[in-house]
Symmetry: C2
């Protein structure tokens, strides 16, 4: 008699984005003439740029010819692509071996699957608020107890609040796996070298592993801020880094990312290279490589012309962030983020809960955002607006907030 | 102190394909003038066909234009693609709901990940020999004991031998999850409706779940043989089916597949729909959908013209299988498969072990195949040759076997 994985039962039935979709649907049904403006999800809206389109077409053409057709490739990805990724890291002063880099179908898969190479008896720490995948994948992987009120027993929540500039204090007890995301989703906070160093030092001391999500690194314009955790000395011995082409190149639907698992990273009683070998074994057994067509696109992203075009995309979205933040601050609302990150994290006015403000925004301005409480308990009283959208749509949303939000 | 997943330690260090690569590399180094011919791996070699190339280009162009650009899509895949897949099933007399179908990045990922929605306390049965991913994923997922000599405690091996026409007897004790693959990799055997029915009846009686891998279904030309397990009555209540565009359309590197998890499938104490909901939750949490570019290609595969072209590809590879089998039988070697499946499974002559025959083939004929023992204990004494290759290369390999194999 087959039995299901009991850990799934711990996940709450309600998931953030379906609940947003439901309330939005109900509002639209009740208000058929209202134009609903969606600033809720971090979904790219601008088309792929010319160099990348050419790269993808050239990739398709290679597969159309017997001389250049390829079938299964290395699960770790094209070596040229890994070389191009390694070359990018050198611009941050970071040297990586090619076999430390694993190309994948995106940061979401890797963020979710990385926990599976670690045992159930690890204590996991997450920033609070955090991208829900870190928590849910560890619940499914049996690394937490049961949950109530959106919190899980055995998981260590590290609050990120206005008081600590949305970067957590070190955990009080010992933890084994630590998820950090910078630039942060949802708060838009970007960690400094010094902040990351406190965690690297902790991890080295306690032989903990940091899982560093740098999917928004290309939105950093302040050159003093680190784009990779490996800019911190010692990080190669304790950190895994996950990154993505999704937001930088508009690949949210195209699917391409990479994860760095340095051979220098060591676990309890393990030898150097152990964690790298385990991730290789995981990827060669449970995955068959990112699409070759898509990898040709990724190569184009990392050319000089591709990077120039992607930088324009980033500038486009960051101008949206500036518009949103200026509007909100003009109304007297306290805002964070939106400067080196594509998310604006606002403090709900008058002590409203996140969901109360969600309903208020939707009803008064027809703008859909994301309630902060959906990202964890410490997100209560906050609200996320995404800068991904057509400029005209963002301008329309901003105008509606300006005219219609009753404060 | 971070600890690795201890189940990885149970996997043998040696893995089949790396060992083949090593011996081949050594032979090539010792014999620099020999032309090594690879019939070992089931990797497609023929270019994508015109309709599919057009479909992929059109997909890229959609992403290049603001009007048709799309970012994140449903993790389950394009609804048009799921409709096209459902329509194909109607040609087998099978009706599926769209939300029973989950598009993915390929059958390997799904074959490996499907076990994760079931608990560790399930007893797992596999055909012996079998595609190594079924075994390895369950070892990693904690559903077996430790291993020795290529066998794992707690795993039920169902021998597939000449005596049972390479289709297993029902397991003697009770098992919970049963992996079946037809057309079979590696044996090339294709199950009849009656054979599948014995397992469906068993699964319904014991509330077991069958995981049916139909990745080679398009190689079936005999219209009496089932292309889907759902052609058997009652299968929707007990079977998950995994399929792929890899071999049919040359998508081994392009990456696209699908899995059917019927809502009618019920686990212990579960309600109808539970397993379907769990797989949806797994895919929406741990995966972000197959590449949209690639899904446009998949839509082209399932058009009338795409199907015509794919049929020609299948015919091309099956002519290779016929050549290989005719050559071997002409030499008095007993062969199986290669008729509705792209693999020829031969009995090693003179009671040689699989690896002895591997070395003999490589040394005498310069042809690389796959030792049957690499697929499980009951594969000992057998050897797999793959029909995937350019016609000229297969003809050259066949000529070399004919002239140089010393029997």
């Amino acid at each position: 008699m087959a039995k299901v994985n009991p850990h799934y039962g711990k996940l709450q039935a309600g998931y953030l984005f379906p609940e947003i979709a439901k309330r939005t649907r109900e509002f639209a049904a009740d208000n058929p003439d209202a134009r609903v403006m969606r600033l809720g999800i971090g979904n790219t809206t601008e088309p792929l740029t010319p160099a990348i389109v050419s790269g993808l077409h050239a990739g398709v053409d290679k597969l159309a010819s017997a001389d250049t057709y390829t079938g299964y490739g290395d699960e770790q990805g094209f070596s040229e692509l890994r070389e191009a990724i390694a070359k990018r890291y050198t611009t941050y002063g970071v040297t990586l071996d090619l076999d430390d880099i694993f190309v994948s179908d995106g940061a979401k898969s890797d963020s979710a699957n990385i926990q599976s190479i670690f045992g159930e008896d690890n204590v996991v720490a997450v920033q609070d608020p955090a991208y829900p995948v870190y928590v849910d994948s560890n619940v499914i992987g049996g690394k937490t107890g049961s949950g109530s009120d959106g919190q899980f027993d055995g998981l260590v929540y590290m609050p990120c609040t206005e008081e600590n500039n949305f970067f957590p204090e070190l955990p009080e007890g010992k933890v084994d796996l630590i998820y950090l995301c910078s630039p942060n989703n949802p708060t838009g906070a970007v960690a400094t070298i010094q902040q990351l160093k406190t965690f690297v030092d902790y991890a080295l001391e306690h032989k903990a592993v940091i899982i560093f999500d740098a999917a928004y690194a290309s939105f950093i314009s302040d050159s003093r801020l680190p784009r990779s955790i490996y800019e911190v000395e010692g990080a190669k011995e304790c950190a895994i880094e996950i990154n993505s082409f999704s937001k930088e190149a508009g690949f949210t639907g195209v699917r391409l990312g990479w994860t760095v698992v340095p051979k220098a990273l060591v676990c309890e009683d393990g030898d150097a290279g152990e964690v790298n070998r385990l991730w290789l074994r995981r990827q060669t057994t449970m995955f068959n490589g990112a699409s070759n067509v898509v990898q040709y696109g990724g190569l184009a992203v990392l050319t000089e012309q591709g990077q120039k075009e992607c930088q324009e995309l980033v500038t486009y979205y960051m101008a949206n962030a500036k518009r949103i933040r200026a509007c909100l601050e003009g109304l007297g609302i306290t805002c964070f983020g939106g400067e080196n990150a594509p998310y604006v994290w606002l403090k709900t006015p008058d002590g409203m809960t996140s969901w109360e403000f969600f309903d208020k925004m939707l009803n008064e301005t027809h703008v859909v955002g994301t309630p902060g409480s959906g990202f964890g308990p410490a997100g209560e009283g906050y609200f996320r607006l995404s800068a991904f959208g057509h400029k005209e749509d963002i301008e329309e949303a901003v105008a509606s907030i300006q005219s219609n939000l009753k404060l």
